[in-house]
Subunit: 337 residues, 2 copies
């Protein structure tokens, strides 16, 4: 199956009746850029958003910045994270910036309350406004600031498309995705360039992250280290209760990363495959359900992992009186891959 | 145009590129149940959710309960509300229940933090947990409790499908929608029965609310009073900054009500029409954009109202650094009605 069939669906059921319906497109590719499985709009550009953070972190390693500043795997995991702003995340980013000698005020990502609700409530109860370190992207930005320092370029403006940091990050992304020239970027939620890629290109990039044999030795080592960091610290890549963290905890052999607006990317080293999916309408609730349906169909999850992740694969929906009133599930018609 | 054409769309743009796409179905009917305009899946059942609150409030009036307990228009507006849990809403529901002699503990809707973020933050900062009166449906439940008292039935279990209150509310809904027998209900977010209706049926019910001439005198008076109450107190029907409130403030000649999972309903008395729409994927952000596109196409908004509502019709999207990074807008291809 090679392209642009009808997209598959994820349904939101109230009782046993469909209340809402999410259309999902996906691509599964190998490191040679060959599509192994695909459905829906796989050649149309999408914004991968945070799903490319593991790819954006490669330049931090490949450039020698990580080695020079002695970054630990925990810090590399934070560079790949859309974290919850929990104490472990915020303290980790502060410590990292402190060691490199960069003030947190240099972070250009803007502030938002921690994604982790109890952490947001604690901050509010303490009367403290959220700071840029609480932004889910603060680890990625710490990495970009570290790279700017390493390249001896000004820190100011590191988030701009024409800054050497963003040019290097974009070049690496293009090479991984097999794209000669990236389209003009839009602006991401945290202020950096948001480059569109097709799902086929994004899946190819993830396949090379999973299976970097054909890449240069430095790039290959960077890919191996990014995967190892994310697998070693799944709690830092997202946070308590979040799908990325729970999936990589239950299945350390896969590397998964969510992106805003219903994107998921995965690297499957045991299969030499990369996977990318997009929920057409941006509905984030459908993305982990679709991801697990695909990982199951690909045979990428062992039985214990499938059991541990059943609640993410088919989550129950409860109302305010805590009654179970429905569930989210793959729609009929997902192919057996 | 009479049925089941391709649904229209609402796009989420990042820069000038489509990031996400919401499919929308809609129906516009007259009080005779004739579809005047329609697109998408208008005969398939959807859950109208809170969009039927104005219809659920009719029995409160028609039964004589509102007159007997001296309900003011503000209280009728709260009965039709998905309110923000702001002070005006919470105090209004408390006062109402107090006058009828019902303890707030009788509310079966469950508790959730106020939808109005500053009110939720104040509650949290005060260390107080949310109570059922803060639930966006507490006014509807106060109305149902008042109806139970009026009917001399037990208050306990008033939210159950077989309770006389729910049977009367359901019978009124079926009659307004022109449905002989309602399908089996699921359970709504606040614990009451959630009956499926097609968009054509829901639009018909709204048309009869807008133009109740053909109904019994008591039902007609109830429809007139529900419309008058919502128009007189748009701030109570939703809350500060919310689309329903802003639309009815700018255009008191229309009555609009949102429902969860991307539903909107509207009664257009000047046109004798009812309108119902559903965002296929449940994406609430697309529903007000679609509603305004339809109201504009139908000529239901005067120039000043259109100007006042431009920000709802095509909202800008900002990132955490407060940059404008995109917008939500009707997709090309909406018909001129």
């Amino acid at each position: 199956m090679l392209a642009d069939l009808a997209p598959v669906g994820v349904v939101v059921l109230r009782g046993e009746r469909v209340e809402s319906w999410h259309r999902v497109s996906y691509a599964v590719a190998d490191a040679g850029g060959r599509l192994q499985h695909a459905s829906g709009a796989t050649r149309r550009p999408v914004f991968p958003r945070s799903a490319v953070k593991p790819l954006q972190a490669l330049a931090l390693l490949e450039s020698g910045a990580a080695r020079r500043f002695g970054l630990a795997r925990a810090e590399l995991a934070l560079a790949c994270a859309s974290h919850g702003g929990e104490a472990m995340h915020v303290a980790g980013v502060r410590r990292w910036l402190g060691r490199v000698g960069i003030a947190p005020v240099a972070l250009a990502c803007g502030a938002h309350p921690p994604l982790h609700a109890p952490s947001a409530e604690r901050l509010l109860a303490a009367g403290r406004p959220p700071e840029p370190v609480h932004n889910n992207c603060s680890g990625k930005h710490a990495g970009m600031l570290t790279l700017a320092r390493h390249l001896s370029t000004p820190l100011a403006g590191y988030e701009q498309a024409d800054h050497p940091v963003q040019r290097l990050v974009a070049q690496t992304l293009a090479e991984m995705a097999g794209v000669a020239v990236l389209p003009e970027p839009a602006i991401d939620g945290c202020g950096i360039p948001a480059f569109p890629l097709s799902l086929a290109e994004l899946a190819t990039a993830l396949a090379r992250l999973a299976d970097p044999q054909g890449l240069s030795p430095a790039r290959r080592a960077a890919c191996d280290e990014v995967r190892a960091a994310m697998s070693a610290h799944p709690e830092l890549v997202a946070g308590s209760g979040r799908p990325c963290t729970r999936i990589m905890t239950a299945a350390p052999e896969v590397v998964v990363k969510t992106g805003a607006e219903g994107v998921y990317a995965a690297a499957l080293p045991e299969h030499g495959l990369g996977l990318a999916l997009k929920v057409e309408d941006g509905g984030g609730r459908a993305a982990p359900v679709a991801l697990l349906a695909l990982l199951e169909a690909l045979g990428a999850l062992r039985a214990e992992a499938r059991a541990a992740l059943a609640e993410i694969a088919r989550p129950d929906l409860r109302n305010h009186a805590r009654q179970i009133v429905g569930r989210i599930a793959p729609a009929p018609g997902w192919p057996a891959l």
